[in-house]
């Protein structure tokens, strides 16, 4: 240990003064550093949460302030959970969630891995690739509807050019089963860069000496990839998945603009259904219960996931 003047003084002085010399004790600093964040989050999140939980046991309707508000116990919850439509919407959400994450991780990680080859101009290309996620979901939803439009949009003509399938013979957002894939395409287009950036940060945090050691051990590139690259980048990758998962579970604006939940109910995500209940039907009590159910679902899934994430990190 180096013996600095400060240390010498510290050792020579009584503890109280030493602390002043060193500044505030760590525990106090820790609280000063954490408190504003916790306070802000409590203020902006806990109040609405309590309000929502409370309302979820009532028949309150925000558009009827004069109507008598009654406690209805868990009726809102039983109504939602026994409604077949809820489960259909949950399946739609699951389809959207699973496939967007699958494609974003696959493409995002592959891109990060390729970019990490550090070819010339890689930083420029990276910056360009990131642009789609900088657009507003409102703009993206609007413009992709425009692009998907079979007559004046460009997507169908590109498909015709590439595959020969006539542009006016299919509709990406219409009936025929394409709609639920079209929303996956748009979300993947927009958010793959997010996964890519976080993966890239992970890949670049892997020190070279580990690979060098592996080279010395004559490990094949393939083996290095699976025993070094993937495990070392995994915590970052899992973090990206966590955030994309949470976001897409509650996202609604993009899909509302693209399909409005149609055709029929084909792309009616649970989050869109919730928005309708809350802001179009104004069933505030019912939608509060719905929101709590969705919240608990994500909360439960995320807590299991975070435990796994922590285990991966500790390895």
């Amino acid at each position: 240990m180096t013996d600095t003047p400060a240390d010498r003084i510290a050792r020579a002085t009584p503890p109280a003064i030493a602390r002043r010399v060193r500044g505030l004790p760590d525990r106090v600093i820790a609280w000063i550093f954490v408190a504003p964040t916790i306070f802000l989050l409590l203020a902006v999140n806990i109040f609405p949460l309590i309000w929502t939980i409370r309302l979820s046991f009532t028949n309150f309707a925000a558009n009827k302030p004069n109507a008598e508000v009654k406690w209805v116990g868990i009726r809102n919850y039983t109504r939602i959970l026994t409604d077949a439509d809820t489960w259909a919407n949950m399946q739609t959400t699951a389809h959207f969630l699973i496939w967007t994450i699958f494609f974003q991780v696959l493409i995002g990680f592959a891109l990060a891995w390729l970019i990490n080859r550090k070819f010339k101009g890689n930083d420029l290309v990276t910056t360009l690739i990131v642009i789609p996620m900088m657009l507003s979901p409102a703009v993206v939803g609007n413009f992709w509807t425009f692009l998907y439009q079979p007559q004046i949009g460009v997507v169908n003509y590109v498909v015709e050019f590439l595959t020969g399938i006539p542009a006016d013979s299919f509709s990406m957002l219409g009936p025929g089963g394409w709609a639920r894939w079209s929303i996956v395409i748009v979300d993947t287009w927009m958010w793959t860069p997010f996964v890519m950036l976080i993966c890239l940060a992970g890949l670049r945090s892997i020190p070279d000496y580990i690979y060098e050691a592996a080279e010395v051990d004559r490990a094949s590139k393939w083996r290095q990839f699976w025993t070094i690259t993937v495990p070392m980048a995994l915590p970052f990758l899992m973090l990206a998945v966590l955030f994309r998962g949470i976001e897409n579970f509650r996202m609604f604006d993009l899909v509302v603009l693209l399909t409005g939940g149609g055709p029929g109910d084909e792309t009616l995500l649970a989050s869109i259904d919730l928005k309708r209940e809350a802001f179009e039907k104004w069933r505030t009590g019912y939608s509060s219960a719905y929101a709590i159910i969705l919240f608990v679902t994500v909360f439960g899934l995320a807590s299991i996931y975070v435990k796994a994430l922590n285990r991966v990190k500790q390895r």
């Binding site: 558009n63 009827k64 998907y148 439009q149 007559q151 013979s169 299919f170 509302v256 149609g262 055709p263």
Partner: protein
């Protein structure tokens, strides 16, 4: 549970001083669309005369109801004047969001007889057909059709039509004829482009497909309920005529729209029509002034049609449009009423019409020169005489969501039959009315 009701009230009291506009100002809230811009121009005269500064808050259509109903629900003070959608009137009246205007009208000598009757019923009255007025009709609107007059007039197209159908190609007077015309144009080559029959409403998200389907169903005999017994819907919503009407709407969707028009409402319809994709186009009348000046379809290329008749010759059209109301929470009641008084004047209404605002004042629309003032004026007038509107109940949004889902599922996604869709609709609506305690 009374305490709970106090929360918003207490909050409202606490913030009473925090109104956004100064007392002398007025804020008018409406949807962000073309007529709103015209109203800003029109209102400059009011500002000059009264010295009151006008602020405007225009919210895009897709969020208009969310935003404004949230504002009204929570006792907000953003808006002094509201041009709210016609279906809000029931909720606004029952919850006390709007000021009842009867006394004011009496005092100022404003008579509701001076306005087109359908707009008074549609925009101002609650309960319907009673003399309780909650707004002054501000912007008349109705679903009608535009067609490509220039295509209809081409000899080769006329000849081809005559050969196929044995009659002249004329603007359709019945829905059966309309479908023939649409079928005729579907897939036809015109000026080197494939064109399609018709653009109709199919939008899922807000109210599109309901507005479109209802526009047809009325003329096929659909009724919301038993005229003798309110909320009795069996045999009215799902009458044979209504089933036939919905089947017709689906057949029109299946045969004669451009591929991929599975989510079309006002904006998409305008784009399809202006870009020359379709021969016939269903839309609200507010779109018509824009077509007249469009480089592609303006200058006489467009003809205007009143909604065609159904199989029994009945003829109705879906109402749009709004009235202007005073928000009960306003801190400038006098100013708000002064605006309405100003707006109701004949010369202001004349100017309103000339700027593209569809006036509801009879003195304007019944003027002998009115019909000739614009190519679409007569069509607008005729259409306004046959309007019907969706439920205006306080729970209209829930009722609307049900019809959106049922209609889109049948017409666009192709699930089930028309009868099943309408039976299901009765079940949904019955449930809503039961929740409301009306059944």
């Amino acid at each position: 549970m009374n305490r709970m009701r106090l929360i918003p009230a207490a909050l409202a009291a606490a913030i009473a001083s925090a109104g956004s506009a100064q007392a002398a100002d007025l804020t008018l809230c409406w949807a962000a669309w073309d007529p709103a811009n015209a109203l800003v121009e029109l209102s400059k005269d009011f500002e000059a005369q009264s010295g009151i500064k006008m602020n405007f808050e225009f919210v895009p259509w897709p969020n208009f109801a969310d935003r404004m109903l949230n504002e009204l629900n929570s006792g907000g003070q953003l808006c002094d004047l509201m041009i709210g959608d016609s279906q809000w009137i029931g909720g606004a009246a029952e919850n006390g969001w709007y000021v009842m205007l009867n006394d004011f009208f009496d005092k100022e000598g404003i008579s509701m007889n001076a306005f087109v009757p359908a707009t008074v019923t549609g925009y101002s009255e609650w309960p319907k057909n009673t003399p309780n007025y909650w707004s002054l009709p501000a912007f008349g609107d109705v679903v009608g059709w535009t067609y490509r007059k220039d295509w209809f007039e081409r000899p080769e197209i006329q000849a081809a039509f005559k050969e196929k159908y044995g009659r002249d190609l004329t603007p359709p007077a019945t829905f059966a004829e309309l479908k023939d015309v649409a079928e005729f144009f579907q897939g036809r080559e015109i000026d080197g482009k494939t064109v399609y029959g018709a653009s109709i409403y199919t939008e899922r998200g807000s109210e599109g497909i309901t507005m479109g389907a209802m526009d047809v169903l009325y003329s096929y005999g659909f009724k919301y309920d038993n005229p003798e017994k309110p909320y009795d819907m069996e045999g009215f919503v799902n009458s044979d005529g209504a089933v036939a009407g919905l089947e017709f709407y689906k057949s029109l969707y299946d045969c004669c729209v451009a591929p991929g028009t599975s989510n079309t409402y006002m904006g998409e319809g305008i784009d399809a029509y202006k870009s020359g994709q379709v021969a016939l186009h269903m839309n609200f009348a507010f779109t018509w002034p824009g077509f007249e000046v469009d480089p592609n379809v303006g200058g006489g290329k467009t003809g205007y049609l009143v909604n065609p008749a159904g199989p029994n010759g009945e003829k109705f059209a879906q109402l749009g449009g709004q009235g202007i109301s005073v928000v009960a929470n306003t801190d400038n009641m006098d100013g708000a009423l002064a605006y309405i008084k100003w707006f109701a004047q004949k010369d202001v209404q004349d100017k309103w019409w000339s700027m593209g605002g569809f006036s509801c004042l009879r003195a304007v629309v019944e003027d002998p020169n009115f019909a000739k003032s614009q190519p679409y004026a007569q069509t607008f007038l005729d259409s306004m005489a046959i309007v019907k509107d969706f439920w205006a109940e306080p729970s209209y949004a829930t009722l609307l969501q049900a019809s959106q889902q049922r209609f889109h599922d049948y017409v666009v996604a192709g699930n089930g039959s028309a009868k099943e869709a309408l039976d299901g609709l009765i079940a949904d609506w019955t449930e809503t009315f039961q929740d409301e305690g009306k059944l």
